[in-house]
Symmetry: C2
Subunit: 408 residues, 2 copies
């Protein structure tokens, strides 16, 4: 099997970490000067690894293998959330680069091709998964026209032009070129850490169903409007959210999660009975049957609230993605490699977060590997994974790709 070089792997991660360093983390938002610098840095690293690097019209960086035959696509993303962690997407990109290098150095693997990719803007500074959606052909020019940086309002077109990428063609996947797609990522949760495990083999990327819950009441003076007379939109919303809190554990799956991320009362004055109230609510699971059960429970709770309450409540569905199931053969390759390097210390698990792999899975078999996140922390500058786990993950990742390609 191919042999990775831990010093080279960690050295690259440390070097990349310096570009946009923030405390012990990194601030490298999509198409910021630091992000553009890191893409250039990556392209040079690909070149040195014998790959043919291309930065395309949406800022995807792809290092094409010169090896003949079907190749594996591998990678992740390179930009970060604002003031976030050093590993989040970088880990998967450098793992893929190390795979290409390890194969090239091993006579038994030098015939195995790996295309290395860093998809642009997985972190959604300008939109959702712009790079991988472009690569699989579901991002139109009009989507790019409309996209703006959520932090400063800069149009994506302007940011691409400033980076020198405007007018370049956007690369599109040729599915016949690939045996599949492998992506490694930090877990971002604490399942592995709290279970004493070291490798997660992803079964599916969960679906997220997002809703806006809008309550219409009657704005009133908080001193003169009697309790009997009020139509308090905020109170109706609190009652509904409390009912969801009681009901959802009965219908949810074992790994389901549900979250109210935002509540806004209108006008939000301490002495005014709210005339309007709104919440953003979402739930996630990888099982469509569980998702449907949760949706049905939500619809019923809103209907109940509308029967019992004084304020009409609207349930508006904002988005509902389909769970992306990972390829069984590629999962088996990851299981096998994990059992070799960390016997009994690996588990199959769904991914609660979205990843580029969910778009790649629409075109080619896809697989994902997780390494432990210390304290379950991610999207924060304190995010970290032990060097031992980073190196172990790379060994499993590279072995699994070799195994999957050889099985072709």
């Amino acid at each position: 099997m191919p042999v990775i070089n831990p010093e080279r792997l960690l050295g690259d991660l440390y070097e990349l970490r310096k570009i946009g360093a923030y405390k012990t983390g990194v601030h490298r938002p999509t198409l910021s000067p630091e992000d553009v610098q890191s893409r250039q840095w990556l392209a040079e690293r690909m070149q040195r690894a014998g790959l043919e690097p291309v930065i395309d019209g949406i800022a995807n960086v792809v290092g094409f293998s010169r090896v003949s035959g079907r190749k594996m696509l591998a990678g992740s993303h390179i930009e970060t959330q604002n003031h976030a962690g050093w590993l989040d997407g970088a880990l998967g990109v450098i793992y893929a680069l190390e795979a290409a290098r390890a194969f090239a150095e091993d006579p038994a693997c030098s015939g195995l091709g790996v295309d290395v990719v860093a998809f642009a803007d997985e972190e959604g500074h300008f939109g959702n998964f712009m790079g991988s959606r472009s690569f699989v052909g579901v991002l139109g020019e009009e989507d790019i026209d409309k996209a703006r940086d959520r932090s400063n309002g800069t149009p994506l077109r302007d940011a691409l032009a400033k980076a020198g990428y405007a007018g370049r063609p956007r690369l599109q996947i040729d599915p016949s070129r690939y045996a599949g797609y492998f992506e490694a990522h930090i877990e971002q949760g604490d399942t592995l850490e709290t279970s004493g495990l070291r490798i997660g083999v992803v079964t599916a990327i969960v679906s997220i169903r997002q809703y806006r819950i809008r309550v219409t009441g009657e704005q009133n003076h908080a001193g003169t409007a009697s309790m009997a007379r009020r139509r308090d939109a905020g109170l109706s919303l609190v009652r509904l959210l409390a009912a969801i809190d009681r009901r959802f554990p009965e219908v949810a799956g074992e790994r389901s999660v549900w979250t109210t991320g935002r509540i806004v009362l209108d006008p939000g004055d301490p002495s005014i009975v709210p005339g309007g109230a709104e919440a953003l609510f979402q739930f996630r699971d990888s099982d469509p049957a569980v998702l449907d059960r949760m949706h049905a429970a939500l619809v019923e709770l809103v209907a109940q609230a509308n029967r019992d309450g004084r304020c009409p409540i609207e349930l508006i569905s904002i988005s509902a993605s389909t769970p992306a199931v990972m390829d069984e053969r590629l999962q088996a390759a990851l299981d096998k490699a994990a059992e070799r390097h960390a016997p009994g210390k690996h588990i199959r698990m769904p991914s609660g977060a979205g990843h580029d792999a969910q778009y790649l899975a629409r075109k080619i078999p896809a697989a994902m590997l997780f390494v432990p996140s210390i304290g379950g922390i991610s999207h924060h500058w304190t995010e970290n994974t032990s060097d031992e786990d980073i190196v172990l993950g790379a060994r499993v990742f590279v072995d699994a790709i070799a195994d999957a390609l050889k099985g072709e």
Copy 2:
């Protein structure tokens, strides 16, 4: 008894309504050009009524009576909330002016003196009850130094200078001058309207107890943090607010009100488990025993939540005023006048809103009269009261003042 002139009364209210007219309401925030114009207009009206007008260093407008002997102080405020109603404070000021005029015209009353007052900024654009607090001597120069317009940040000092009031002395009450204070106001609720009544005689102005409820959780990824692991500050807050909703009806008084006017989740992103949550909560009653019971219940619910929950909750008391009890002799004068003009159509009731009378009551006997608000609406440009009710209210108001002064 003195006779009011309904055409003159309504004519003044209609004329005042034109200054800062907004739809069918008025936009005349404190010390705006329109507000300054209206103070000048009022001073001229006072002059014509034979009063000696003074606009003081905080923008209070007082028309001093030239009659000898103890006088009645009467009035309210003249500025409005933003884009609000035409009657709110203006009604009470013009009632007081009409009282002074009606007395002057009636030989039997011409020896009765009324000082007419429009207190500045009752509506709290720059602070709380700036004008009446200044008049009763509980507003320091440093309070004025710090005060800024809540809508645009303009320092009160600058606004006073622009209006030409800077440097003027601030008038202070001489309690020995007055038999008491009368204030008329729209009810701002619908108790009178829904009961088919036309006059409310205020027993007390309720106390408001205000709290900030602050929950500390742990910010997390809404996809990767399991339900078991989460410390969701927003969810803990929702559970507490739902518990308050269940418990408060058991401890509250018949007329108590309680309100959550604002809820903020931090960071407020749909895909992030809130790491912090805050609510502004208040309750009001005129009975100190009821207020104490509600406070105790709130403290106990927070303690319970801290025992049961995963997120520490702080209960921070922001303010707690004392109920202002209205003078019994002046209430009786209002009852008597109400029974004369609207037999069986009047009621004694607390005021759920704060009014300048609560500060005047600290120095002299105070009383308040309410007229019905159509639909219970106030602080909105659709606020209204029928002309018949406006005129009836003035008759009761003027008679009661005459009666109270004659009883001196």
